[in-house]
């Protein structure tokens, strides 16, 4: 499967649909999308204007799908898309776009710009213009099963640690469980407390849950790089695992893109609706809270704020649950300006954090986050995405701001008493 310009352009032609045609025809070059993009606001470089990031795609649209464009092409007046051009655009489509979707939220004519960036990446990837860093992550996910080379034995080792630390058994491949819990490699390697937290919460709620030996990894770098074939392959492992274990619900971990990949793109990649539900862990915790299955003790007393992962909130529709959960265990929860639906991205989503050469730019863009933090001066930041968490930690360290970052699920679990009476396990 060698990537060529020809293949890339063919893919670009294939991804263009009526919404994209409508969007390109609606753009009036007002530039408001730039004001919504942290890569523009923090650098002032107009090349980072979101709609500009799509210029090659727009030209393919014009040349292939409009009468005037085809006419111009015939008489040699149009500029064909070249390899050099796509090479130049790599930085714009990947390094300086986290698929956060703020541009799509502000465009006055209603253009879903991030939808187009996602589609454009399909052509970029097919033409061989995707960044090395994400390419590596995709290859490892496809061959090994995880972007960070995590294999089942590593997961089992973590399970064992957690079982010892928490005294709770971690079920593996338990058929007929209500929930199948997925992890991100980041959690397996860097934040194992997530698994312990889930175990504690599930025990208190009396829910049957399981990990799956053939599908423990939730992240999908295929989505980030823009390769639907590989994204489908990665999703299919989870679908097969969930169907084999006959679970009712698959829980996406604290990872934004894993959620988008599975919840919104998964069925479309597979070409059929799922036989199970997909929920983000925060949605599940929200349900437990409403059903009275989440009983916590005590409160955090320091000043906490919540960073909304873009794919969970703006692109995923989970906005209220995390706030109710915060209020259950935090006495001093303060909201940053523009929190929730319009929250500013950490700057590392959509695969951007895997791009080494994009780091300087990411740190520059992170000034947006520091400004948000400075507005409320929190003692700690809570979030619900392992990738946001790593990126926030890096950015805060870069700007020498001493603000620890923690995951919401583990914070909730810390308030569940160890000797909590266990609800009768429901089958």
């Amino acid at each position: 499967m060698s990537a060529t310009l020809e293949k890339g352009v063919r893919v670009l032609k294939e991804v263009i649909d009526a919404p994209i045609a409508s969007y390109f025809n609606s753009c009036v070059h007002c530039g408001l999308c730039a004001e919504a993009c942290l890569f523009y606001t923090e650098t002032g470089d107009p090349r980072y204007t979101p709609i500009h990031k799509l210029e090659p795609l727009r030209r393919v649209y014009e040349q292939e799908y409009t009468l005037l464009g085809r006419l111009k092409k015939v008489i040699g007046l149009s500029k064909p898309v070249t390899d050099d051009e796509l090479d130049e655009w790599q930085e714009l489509v990947y390094n300086s776009c986290t698929l956060c979707g703020r541009c799509s939220a502000v465009c006055p004519v209603g253009n879903d710009i991030v939808y187009m960036v996602r589609k454009f990446r399909e052509g970029m990837s097919a033409s061989g213009h995707s960044p090395e860093g994400i390419r590596g992550a995709v290859e490892r996910t496809v061959t090994v099963g995880s972007p960070m080379n995590v294999k089942l034995p590593a997961v089992q080792a973590q399970m064992k640690h957690v079982e010892e630390d928490y005294g709770i058994p971690i079920p593996l491949d338990a058929e007929g469980s209500e929930y199948m819990v997925l992890l991100s490699s980041m959690e397996i390697m860097n934040f194992p407390e997530y698994l312990g937290a889930v175990a504690k919460i599930m025990r208190q709620a009396g829910k049957r849950w399981t990990l799956c030996s053939t599908a423990f990894e939730a992240t999908n770098a295929g989505i980030q790089i823009g390769n639907s074939d590989l994204a489908r392959l990665i999703v299919s492992r989870i679908v097969e695992g969930a169907e084999r274990l006959k679970v009712k619900t698959v829980i996406s971990p604290e990872c934004g893109h894993a959620y988008t990949a599975l919840r919104w793109e998964g069925a479309n990649l597979m070409g059929r609706p799922f036989t199970f539900e997909v929920k983000h862990i925060i949605e599940v915790l929200g349900e437990f809270q409403q059903q009275g299955l989440l009983k916590t003790e005590g409160f955090e007393t320091d000043r906490l704020t919540f960073h909304d992962p873009c794919q969970l909130a703006r692109r995923g529709g989970v906005i209220q649950q995390q706030r109710s959960l915060m209020n259950q265990v935090a006495q001093n929860f303060v909201e940053m300006p523009e929190a929730g639906y319009m929250n500013w991205c950490c700057g590392g989503g959509g695969g951007a954090s895997a791009i080494e050469e994009g780091e300087a730019l990411r740190m520059k863009a992170f000034k947006k986050k520091t400004a948000q933090f400075e507005a409320v001066r929190p003692d700690r930041v809570v979030t619900a995405c392992a990738n946001c968490r790593i990126n926030l930690e890096e950015g805060l360290e870069h700007y020498q701001m001493d603000i620890p970052v923690i995951g919401l699920t583990e914070m909730i679990a810390e308030h569940i008493p160890d000797n909590a009476p266990q609800a009768a396990t429901q089958s």
Partner: protein
């Protein structure tokens, strides 16, 4: 050709050609765009109040939180000149009479002094947004010939119409003929330039609202 012949031509042949190209152009462009279709979303929908295509068609007319402050000229200037254009085009009595003659449809207009004021305000707002386009780095960077051209073909009908009513610069007959000609140019280029957003913005907002409404996100 003298002024009167010129006026007669733009009122008859010219107008017919322009309206013909406009109507066929709009139909063709709408077909060209929306016949591309799109795939059905197979993911399980999540419903939320206020999240749908139709909601977004209306909601997107208002600035999202924080945006008015970031780009006040775009919003305020944009509102003024769009509303101003609508008043001038659709509520000036001679314009309504023209439509009545062509189609039989009729509606009440506004006093000409008011429309006069609206025209001046519209032109002022258009000049302000033009200056903003030159001054703001992102806007200037995005701008192509089409952006300056479409600004001009939108501005000229307002300017010539206002000057004709005010009897400025040129004899009334000639100015009126120029006014009608400028409108005809506008009609001819509208379907084939970014001015076509006047039609597609409803579709675009709807698609965006619907795709996000499927996720339960009111955008």
């Amino acid at each position: 050709m003298n002024d009167l012949l010129f006026l007669t031509w733009v009122r008859s042949t010219g107008l017919n050609i322009a309206i013909g190209i406009f109507l066929l152009g709009v139909l063709w462009r709408l077909f060209e765009i929306y016949s591309l279709g799109r795939k059905t979303d197979l993911s399980a929908p999540r419903h939320a109040p206020g999240a749908s295509g139709l909601h977004t068609v209306f909601r997107r007319s208002l600035p999202p939180p924080g945006m008015l402050k970031r780009s006040p000229v775009s919003y305020i200037g944009g509102y003024i000149f769009h509303i101003g254009l609508a008043i001038v085009v659709f509520l000036f009595v001679p314009h309504i009479l023209l439509v009545t003659n062509l189609t039989g449809l009729s509606w009440p207009g506004l006093p000409s002094q008011f429309v006069d004021l609206a025209a001046v305000v519209t032109m002022a707002a258009m000049i302000v947004v033009l200056v903003d386009r030159i001054n703001k780095p992102a806007k200037r960077f995005l701008s192509t010939f089409e952006d300056w051209f479409t600004w001009a073909v939108t501005f000229l009908p307002v300017l010539t119409g206002w000057m004709a009513v005010q009897h400025l610069l040129l004899p009334y007959t000639l100015m009126l003929a120029l006014h009608i000609l400028s409108v005809e140019i506008l009609l001819v280029v509208l379907p084939f330039t970014k001015l076509f957003h006047a039609f597609t913005l409803f579709g675009s907002r709807w698609y965006n609202g619907r795709a996000n409404g499927h996720k339960g996100v009111p955008v």
